[in-house]
Symmetry: C2
Subunit: 332 residues, 2 copies
């Protein structure tokens, strides 16, 4: 029997359960999908959680809706501010619009045009600031100071983590409903660690092992787990633009350190193969960051040869021209 009352920094499975209840009707319960060809490639059952089909095209809508929804209504009369490479920006813009608030977003100068357009279409104001997560965070802090606005951070926040955890929570529910048994393992892509920390909380009290997946050269979490303390990296180039922060969040790391069972690093070729295989065989378009966990699953060799493996497809906001290039490169 595994305890369900464990917490880190007072955060536990109850927070994810409560977030799921609050978010009902506000976000999409995305489908959990099976693709036999991908199962054959991976050598196990893959249970794919398609957050690419979430509002705003990524799981980030969960955390943002949860965090903005829990703000005091008075706080929502001031600007809601964030910093993001793209998907969290769209999510906060969406949540602010839902609650009738003004949104100001610090985005990198090299953000994919599709993500910039998505933020603008939702009526948010954009401030471009450098190319790293620290540069855009500094810009957001300045905006907050000058406007008296509220920052909704992209990952290092209990409400963001609990909201993000609802994706894994639903996945676990779907697998039990379909098979009567729990997932043996779940693979989570890691940028700042919001989805990962949420997954860890969602899995408390279950026998599901949580594994993290990062692009090679953007492996702040894996390095931090190895060092036993938070380590920042200078993110290398990667197709996965959503997984390139300089480091994981403090709260995120504390949770990951307690529950993550192993870390994987995937390269651009593996991400490309996963993205294209999912498109061709699964009929789902994900962004490179959204294909990272599948890339690790397709490599196989998870410890203990798990039978049922959950895979978080975190988002689908990708430039059409990049899809064309990857399809031509993979030539499936």
């Amino acid at each position: 029997m595994i305890a369900t009352d464990e917490t880190v920094c007072d955060l536990g499975v109850a927070h994810v359960r409560a977030a799921a209840a609050r978010l009902r009707g506000e976000i999409v319960r995305t489908p959990t999908l099976r693709v036999p060809t991908l199962d054959a490639m991976a050598g196990c059952e893959l249970w794919l959680k398609a957050e690419s089909l979430q509002l705003t095209g990524a799981f980030k809508a969960r955390g943002a809706m949860h965090a903005v929804g829990r703000l005091d209504p008075a706080a929502r009369t001031r600007p809601i501010i964030t910093f993001s490479s793209g998907n969290h920006a769209q999510a906060v813009a969406f949540a602010a619009k839902r609650y009738g608030a003004r949104a100001i977003i610090a985005m990198p100068t090299d953000a994919p045009a599709v993500k910039v357009a998505g933020v603008r279409a939702l009526g948010a104001e954009i401030v471009f600031a450098g190319t790293t997560s620290s540069e855009r965070k500094a810009a957001a802090l300045e905006i907050a100071a000058s406007t008296g606005g509220v920052i909704v951070p992209p990952f290092d926040d209990p409400h963001i983590i609990a909201g993000a955890g609802t994706a894994t929570w639903e996945l676990l529910e779907d697998v039990v409903a379909n098979t009567g048994a729990p997932l043996d393992a779940v693979l989570i892509p890691v940028g700042g660690g919001g989805l990962l920390a949420g997954a860890c909380l969602a899995c408390i009290g279950t026998s599901t092992m949580v594994y993290s997946v990062e692009p090679i050269g953007c492996d702040a979490l894996a390095q931090s787990l190895e060092a036993g303390k938070r380590v920042d990296v200078e993110p290398g180039p990667s197709l996965a633009d959503g997984l390139r922060p300089v480091g994981v969040g403090e709260l995120n790391f504390a949770i990951a350190q307690r529950w993550v069972r192993g870390s994987y690093r995937v390269n651009d070729d593996e991400i490309t193969r996963a993205l294209v295989a999912l498109l061709v065989h699964g009929k789902l378009l994900v962004e490179p960051s959204g294909a990272a966990a599948l890339a690790a699953a397709l490599r196989g060799g998870l410890p203990g040869a798990p039978r049922r493996v959950g895979v978080l497809l975190s988002g689908g906001n990708v430039e059409p021209s990049l899809v064309t290039r990857l399809l031509q490169k993979a030539n499936p």
Copy 2:
């Protein structure tokens, strides 16, 4: 109040309901999805039924599983034979495999390689026969005569129609569950008319209007409805390879004649635009045939300006190289 006991040739809504019960656990209950950007393009709420995510990548798995499942077990010791441009072929191969039967499929010589590979991967034997539905039907009849096998026809069959109708049945259920109100209209792509006839049956007793969609130049149903009798056509070229039979089925036409409220014809440019918009904004890959109903929805102007419109995305089996070409052409 609309009667629910209406039938054509003894087929009514009860047959779809019964098929849905039989198919539970055998096929995927595919998600019903919303895409705000597509709603804005169409000027109404689009409720997208993603049969591209069905087993074998198309709604055809429903009819085939239903029809093969209802065969006498003794009949399944003989070959199960069909004729199809692709998706029904894969579906029958899949159903035969599920029931441990041998499958022999007559396919056109110009069938997309992805569909041929799909049939082969499921262990079925393929006989290539001409390029028209009449040529491959003749080949299937010959095979049946020489082997004593059973033909599972692609559309003109009560079990196929009732099975196909379960897609629309689920869509109607999902919309009522989400909104408390029924769909105002549903758009159904038409090849031989299996999905359409099933949709008509599923909608009996509701206020949902059924509209058919065919490629320009492959409009056997629209011509038949106008003539008041079945009319065959010489199918013109169309991206929508699944919607090019020479004519709709007899039973299919009888049902369509009673319940279809209007017919739409879409061209390749409209299909391309719909396919690419769904990929970019909805993150779903469909084949050209699967994008036809969405193409009609995006044109707008449905009679009575319906608020909630169902769209059957019938399948997703498309050559990756075609996806690349269409993405480059549409340059979204």
